[in-house]
Amino acid sequence: MRVAGFAQAGGTLRAVLGAGAIALALAGAAWAGARAPALDAPRGDKCVEDAATMRRSHMDFLKHQRDDTVHRGIRGARHSLAGCIECHANPKDGAVLGSPTHFCQGCHEYAAVKLDCFECHASRTRAAQAGPVRAP
């Protein structure tokens, strides 16, 4: 009886997990829907990875590469924060922060994830850095 009870519980667990997976898939599909944040259009037509991979893993790419660059001095790697900014900055002010349509800020507000890269890193393109300094 006890064994059967376990099997039954396992079946319930599987059902719950299945429902969860479907809910996650739907949430993923909602990205393309009306609730997705309206963000500045990127420059160029191709990112370093496809959009779904970038949404899921950009923080891992950046974290992996930062140690290679800072400690071992490896330059010119595929994933770089400066590279993100050069393409995704707002064409007018050259920034990825500033309003809910700016690329990094807009998406992080939508996802409710704290964004602290730019407490140290420049949030503007090289070209825009000559302009007036943005308040911290």
Binding site: G73, I74, G76, H121, A122, T125
Partner: protein
């Protein structure tokens, strides 16, 4: 932002290359040879260093300090606690009255005390001898500031703004001269060296101390140079001539 004018870039690039070959072929070839290809890590066979000739360094000139602030987006210091990566020091011999002026910055020691005391590994020496702070792991304890015999390090007390792409910097971390590592990795020279030459003094020479044919090695072999506080045996990468 305007689209990049590639035609103009190519023209300027070609002109600069032609001018470089025509004017200073040795210098240009050396710079190309020093540029590390992307994807390759810093080499252990290189030891970057600087030689400051105090007889050429002009008293009152702050070209190197200004260039450093510009290059790294540092605000001009207004308080004693503000970040300062390079400073001008005047030395006066009381007996003879002789005055020497010299820039002092991180000495990029071979045996850096700041690295010894760092509890997190944020203060580290790169394979090519450049001493850096990894701000991702710096907890702002300031042990390194106390360990440094040259007062080369600063703590950032206030929120920062106007950072440069190549120099991330933020509140709560310690920072110091990074030997313009972003320029060096591209085969360039630090901003202070460039500005000193542009100001007509050429008091700072930058190069590879391990390469016997480099200008810095030849100068170090030819004239008497000193490392600051050589008694501490930190084996500094920055040397001074004329002190």
């Amino acid at each position: 932002m305007n689209p990049v004018d590639t035609g103009r870039r190519k023209f300027l690039g070609a002109t600069a290359a032609a001018a470089g070959v025509a004017l200073a072929p040795g210098v240009l070839l050396y710079e190309i040879a020093a540029a590390r290809p992307p994807g390759l890590e810093a080499s252990r066979s290189v030891r970057w260093g600087m030689l400051v000739d105090t007889t050429r360094c002009a008293s009152g000139c702050t070209a190197c300090v200004d260039a450093c602030n510009r290059e790294h987006g540092l605000p001009a210091p207004t308080r004693p606690t503000d970040a300062q990566w390079i400073r001008k020091v005047e030395l006066k011999d009381l007996r003879s009255g002789a005055v020497h002026s010299a820039p002092v910055m991180c000495q990029h020691c071979a045996e850096p005390p700041c690295v010894d005391v760092c509890p997190t590994g944020a203060s580290f020496k790169r394979a090519d001898g450049i001493v850096l702070v990894d701000r991702h792991t710096c907890i702002g304890c300031r042990y390194c500031m106390m360990a440094c015999p040259y007062k080369a390090r600063s703590f950032v007390h206030e929120p920062t703004a106007g950072q440069k792409t190549d120099t991330p910097r933020g509140k709560g971390c310690v920072e110091s001269c990074n030997l313009c590592v972003h320029r060096v990795d591209k085969g360039g020279t630090p901003a202070c060296v460039e500005s000193c030459a542009a100001a007509g003094h050429q008091a700072i020479v930058f190069g590879d101390l391990n390469d016997p044919s480099s200008e810095i090695s030849r100068r170090v072999q030819a004239v008497a140079t000193t490392q600051l506080r050589a008694d501490l045996r930190t084996d500094n990468g920055v040397r001074y001539a004329g002190l």
